[in-house]
Amino acid sequence: MDFLNGIVALANFVLIPAIAYGSQLALGALGVTLIYGILRFSNFAHGDTMAAGTMFAVLTTWGLQAMGVSLGPLPTALLAIPFGILGAAALVLLTDRYVYKFYRAQKAKPVILVIVSMGVMFIYNGFTRIVIGPDDQRFADGERFVISARDFREMTGLAEGLALRTSQVITVITAVVVVAVLFWFLNKTRTGKSMRAFSDNEDLALLSGINPERVVLVTWLIVASLATVAGVLYGLDKSFKPFTYFQLLLPIFAAAIVGGLGNPLGAIAGGFVIAFSEVGITYAWKKVLVYFMPPALEPEGLVQMLSTEYKFAVSFVILVIVLLFRPTGLFRGKAL
């Protein structure tokens, strides 16, 4: 019984939240890593692209809710994702047409593009706030729990409860589907292969007749989709507030760099590494350990490695360690 209780407490407070958060980070990091691999710069505007895409989805969700459209137990926002993607795609393509294209034509150095993307970030930042405002927005509806802590306790008779939210299940399923489609696209389709060729060696790709503008266009479309999906999932699971999306930039970049910039598989692994470290290091393990340890060895203190205020520091520390000892990341991406 103690053993089961321990497992349930671990799942409730560590495994489930970390897996959901890791999936959201992985989707965000995939977008960053694709831009780095194909367009060759670190896109600082990615967090705000997520915010803008989510904003379009939130507005559509409200519209659908007003028309009485609903998915029953599932959140209406899932229906709004395609509209969010359209909005985000329009935004990034316009930005590319009027901003990035100019610098690409000049063959500007990556560091210049990074600064340009910071400018774009501030513009997106302001744009999102002007349209939807700086406050928290609620757009989740449908059934909140697959199983709530109270029901679980009553069903199993265990002392610990296990809560599983609909948004967490949707997050993981969607992330798996999106990643599968993305890898199929990159590895099996002609366009995907041309993108990889362009990423490996731009000059050779141009010589073999790949149209660079088409590669850029497709990359932006994929990035806009990934950003919107990641943003909507994060918003459903937590809440939508433009500033928190801006703050997500740090763990997302940490995930992409830890996995190896430019390597899609690495981005996913990096997302989960960051999420599990953040949750695991700041969790007070006492609750779980009391079930596994013999009574004599039960911990007195909270067994918390780092207090929760330092959550964001965890991404920083992992980033520093990886850059010091393995600058190419776990999966041999491009060195910074």
Binding site: N12, F13, V14, P17, Y21, D136, F145, S148, A149, R150, F152, R153, G161, A163, R165, Y234, D237, K238, S239, F240, K241, F243, T244, E278, V279, T282, Y283, A284, W285, K286, K287, L302, Q304, S307, T308, E309, K311
Partner: protein
């Protein structure tokens, strides 16, 4: 150029002294007209100015003196800017009293750097940090808002009476939250309770599962949340409910609001909370007067601002002088019993009594009673969430 500068400076000096009429009393109104509480300060300043206008109209203070308001911006957060503004009020505007400052941090800075060196009296309507009680003030600083230390004690008292002896505490990570949490913890432990963990939370995050996880590990009969209802406080409660970590909460004043019951409804039935509030008659009178004057009298700290300005003016009347050194000793006398109780709108009557050598007990808009180091005793309403609605069950 140099000549021009000298000439301008000299001109300014002459102008400054020329405008200072003999029978004019200037009062500085030092509030954050810009910054985080800029939405509250217009009503606060207007409240203070209502008291000034009332006294001016009566024509009874110090032989018919006119009281004028000089507004200065404390910014609420920038101590350097607030200090400079207060310096200007004293050296260039020549005020005889300062109604302010507003936020606890800048109030402490202005008190230490400007008010004490210049011997200026300050009454803050809204600084509630317990740290100000122990500030080195030479007896020059008062406040019409109660210290959070008092609320911490009240909340602890309520919990102990309900038989709750073990709690986890989370507070919003700023001066307000930290001071409140410290005060709560010491009173609760003094009353025999135990605090399993005190953890801060940052406002404006999307996710509080890590904080809730730590608090759940520590355990306790209830979770004490000293935060803001439209910020992290609500996020923490949501997280605790979702993970089944706590279902009983105890809340500070920042958490008491309609947003709370809108968000959680009857999920948090049985939750208790405290917030400043009293059932005194002055509040309603003040609200009516404010509405007549075109201001929102129910706005937070508007009544306290009226009271702060009124106290200083009555102390001047009692001492027959507008010199801070003379009237500072009379502030507690006019604020507390014995004497004729004074309601808002009765300032003229109070000045007459004082001029005739009598004593008054100023109650004002918020039932002012100064205790300890010159701060309001404060009265608190006790709330309970019942059937998804906040209900007042008593006053302490």
């Amino acid at each position: 150029m140099k000549k021009l500068l000298t000439a301008t400076a000299a001109g300014a000096l002459i102008a400054g002294s020329a405008f200072a009429q003999d029978n004019e009393i200037k009062m500085g109104v030092l509030l954050g007209y810009t910054g985080p509480i800029e939405s509250l300060t217009p009503a606060m300043a207007a409240g203070a100015e209502m008291a000034m206008a009332e006294v001016t109209e009566s024509g009874a203070l110090l032989g018919g003196a006119t009281v004028t308001s000089v507004r200065a911006d404390s910014t609420c957060v920038d101590s350097a800017a607030a200090t400079a503004a207060a310096e200007r009020l004293i050296t260039s505007d020549g005020v005889s009293a300062i109604m302010g400052a507003d936020c606890s941090g800048v109030t402490g800075a202005v008190l230490a750097n400007v008010a004490v060196p210049n011997g200026m009296v300050m009454i803050s309507p809204s600084a509630t940090s317990p740290a100000l009680s122990a500030a080195e003030d030479n007896g020059l600083f008062f406040r019409t808002a109660p210290s959070d230390a008092r609320q911490g004690a009240v909340l602890a008292e309520v919990l102990v009476e309900k038989g709750i002896t073990s709690v986890a505490v989370t507070y919003t990570n700023n001066d307000y939250g930290k001071g409140f949490a410290d005060a709560f913890q010491s009173s609760f432990e003094a009353a025999g309770g135990s605090v399993t963990l005190t953890a801060p939370h940052e406002d404006g995050k999307a996710d509080y599962s890590a904080e809730v996880g730590a608090l759940a590990s520590a355990g306790g009969d209830a979770l004490v949340v000293l935060g803001y209802v439209d910020q992290g406080g609500a996020g923490v409660i949501q997280g605790a409910l979702d993970s089944g970590a706590f279902d009983m909460f105890a809340l500070g004043d920042g958490m008491i609001g309609d947003a709370l019951t809108e968000a959680f409804g009857s999920d948090i039935d049985g939750t208790i909370g405290t917030a400043p509030g009293s059932d005194n008659a002055g509040g309603a009178t003040f609200a009516e007067m404010a509405t007549a004057a075109g201001i929102d009298g129910t706005s937070v700290y508007a009544g306290e601002s009226y009271d702060a300005a009124a106290l200083m003016l009555l102390a001047m009347a009692a001492s027959g002088s507008s010199d801070p050194a003379d009237y500072v000793g009379k502030i507690e006398m006019v604020a507390n019993a014995p004497g004729e109780p004074i309601m808002p709108g009765e300032l003229a009557k109070a000045i007459e009594i004082l001029a005739g050598g009598g004593d008054v007990d100023y109650n004002g808009a918020t039932g002012v009673e100064l205790v300890g180091p010159g701060e309001a005793a404060g009265s608190y309403a006790e709330y309970v969430v019942d059937g998804g609605a906040l209900t007042v069950v008593g006053y302490r």
